[in-house]
Symmetry: C2
Subunit: 420 residues, 2 copies
């Protein structure tokens, strides 16, 4: 019996990589003063059915069903609707800005292909209650520093910065608004991937002869929105200018964006987007019922494309592997020279674990040589031999083979000192 297609078993080596990735996400977000939150894996279907909170594509990919009480429910396909629901319910209880992040599992029933999973991890960072460009820059800097935490540099990836407001204003100048504008934006989102013929065939029914693909390309090539200038200046002051370029080709599919938008790609153009996000000032307010606005900006980053990219770059892969190895290392193996002394060994083992040292012992009678072998295989830095010299024990540093005698009750303190 196997896992369902698109779902992953995390054996210890895989779980260690996953934990290193999630650990880096957490560390960077905490460094930015963001606080972790989370919501349920299962939500009312209505949360995603609301037009603003998702978009047509996601609705078709939902794992949805009726629960035992006849409620229409869905496994969460993304975090933003849950965040908006939670923020709308209690925003009065929190000082602004609210700087929140989440790491967790999400579910989409997608066609099976490389890098597409049906259960995947995503890192979500959102900053609520701050409308200015400094908040946009803070979110983009956080996304950049997250990738830098995986030893990815300005030569490896680029943040492509765009502005939904500039797009809306341009379309208005062509007399295109409302639902038609949303439709054009969904077509414009494909500027990079489709030919002019294909795009024109989609634009014509929406806009008649008011707009063609060539117009969109001219707009993209010739525009640097003034709204992005303070964002760029802020990022430059942080020393992060090399990681960002203005690129109006970025449109973002979802309807709820209102201002700055961005996507992050590898420079080589090999992979799909590593992350994407932007400003969505209307969404949370639309859920409070009071209609009071709540400025918001955020991004999401999945684990699948990120790990593919890390694996493709030796310096980044090595850094991740080193972090994984360090996390999996253990401190001490308690070697039992003679089974008669097992009670002493168990007491010593307990004192080492009480001191916070990662410690192992053989759980059945085993030859001393085999115990040393197990110590090496388990990644222990030290072995300590309990034998007839008790209360003295023999401490061996496995890398150097250096041995010393030490009293069993001084061992934990001795090894703790060495750790610092």
């Amino acid at each position: 019996m196997q896992a369902l297609p698109g779902f992953r078993d995390f054996y210890p080596a895989d779980a260690a990589v996953r934990n290193a990735v999630v650990g880096a996400w957490r560390r960077v977000a905490l460094g930015y003063g963001f606080e972790e939150y989370d919501g349920p894996m299962l939500e009312p279907l209505d949360l995603y059915a609301k037009k603003n909170a998702g978009g047509e594509e996601i609705l078709g990919q939902l794992y949805r069903f009726e629960d035992g009480g006849g409620r229409a429910v869905a496994l969460r396909p993304e975090m933003t609707p849950t965040l908006a629901r939670m923020a709308a319910a209690k925003e009065k209880h929190f000082r602004k800005p609210m700087k929140w992040f989440a790491t967790g599992s999400f579910f989409r029933y997608e066609r099976q292909q490389r890098g597409r999973l049906r259960e995947f991890l995503q890192f979500n960072c959102d900053l609520l209650g701050e409308a200015g460009p400094a908040a946009d820059a803070e979110i983009i800097a956080l996304a950049i520093d997250t990738l830098r935490a995986f030893s990815l540099g300005a030569g490896d990836f680029v943040v492509r910065l765009s502005h939904r407001g500039a797009w809306i204003a341009y379309l208005e100048s062509r007399g295109i608004t409302g639902e038609t504008a949303s439709g054009v934006l969904r077509v414009a989102d494909k500027l990079e991937r489709e030919t002019d013929e294909s795009l024109d065939a989609k634009l014509a029914p929406l806009t008649g002869d008011r707009l063609c693909a060539a117009d969109l390309r001219a707009f993209v090539a010739g525009t640097t929105p003034a709204e992005l200038e303070p964002v760029m200046r802020d990022l430059a002051a942080r020393g992060l200018a090399d990681f960002v370029k203005v690129d109006l080709t970025i449109v973002r599919g979802l309807a709820y964006y209102t201002g700055t938008i961005f996507e992050i790609f590898d420079r080589a153009g090999t992979f799909r987007a590593l992350a994407g996000g932007g400003r969505y000032d209307g969404l949370v307010g639309s859920l409070t019922g009071t209609g009071s606005p709540m400025p918001a900006v955020g991004f999401g980053m999945g684990d699948a494309v990120l790990c593919e990219m890390i694996a493709s770059l030796p310096h980044s892969a090595k850094a991740l592997e080193d972090a994984v190895q360090a996390a999996r290392a253990r401190d001490v193996y308690v070697v039992i020279a003679d089974e008669a002394h097992r009670p002493w060994a168990l007491g010593l083992l307990q004192s080492l674990r009480d001191a916070g040292l990662k410690s192992e012992v053989s759980l059945s009678p085993t030859k001393v040589g085999k115990q040393f072998q197990a110590a090496e295989q388990a990644g222990c830095t030290h072995a300590v031999v309990v034998g007839g010299e008790w209360p003295m024990v023999r401490l061996k540093t496995l890398a150097t083979r250096v041995e010393e005698e030490i009293s069993h009750d001084a061992l934990a303190a001795r090894l703790k000192n060495q750790q610092v």
Copy 2:
């Protein structure tokens, strides 16, 4: 719009508690040399439908549905079937014993009542490939040390130790075997909660006049299984004897247990079980298809009862709250005396974050007094004022109000040193 009943929103304060609990689980398991693993949240329904892998009660509580491809699937209600599936598929690839733990979400559609959630967290530790009593003791010691990590002591909780083999042997001595024995064990599981009359009414159809509740009580009161003696000796050598007592009242509901079994309760008897587990030597082997046996022992511990118990004991609640506060503290607030200097402040901010310091800045023009107030509210230990003295900045330790001047490019190193 709210979360579904039985599902939790983790606002930052709640998520911080959750992370402290999960963090302690992880720390103790890693200290025992256990490795983390995980599986999918969604599994084939068949995994739970197999009789051995669950039990009737859990089947009725499954969140089950058909996915987009017509597969019968279920949200995982417990970890053991996934562990058994994963271990059975690849056990040849791993050195024995395999010492694995998992922390994650599980789902049961249960009637709503206090302490019962429909999505809950569970800590699962399992040790595969070792048949002896030292493995039983290692698992029980790990469960004890997990509770000790929450400042719970031998006066607060007790491990009630029993043995499925002793029960089976006793029933055999009364001529009761197979399905009938399983039925009797399910009745015996209620010895503490039901009257003799109620129990006898359930036993009679199973055993006729061969067995009554009084027989079961006499067996429980008069038996200390010899199989448990080496387990008790091992735990005594670790200094953990005070945490354990033999108590045959513990039967465990699930069919798959074969040897040592245990449940952990608060001494006061206020709560449901904090944790439960035991030896299940047949389950993994039954899934490999090869029929080769795989000894296994493990336990599960949920977050709901644990957190109720911690909250009920001031010394434990205080320890958890201290851990939460320490985790939520931040290092530095960069105070901008004059907006003209924001670029300097942003550069300094970036250098602090690059050094791993949790750092904040105001994202809009704010009076200096308000920035200091925000620093205190955010739990920053330090504030640094960027102003006209640049490249010098003023560092203020918020607890003592002590101020000093320091060059901006020496600040990160200065604060890092203080951290250690």
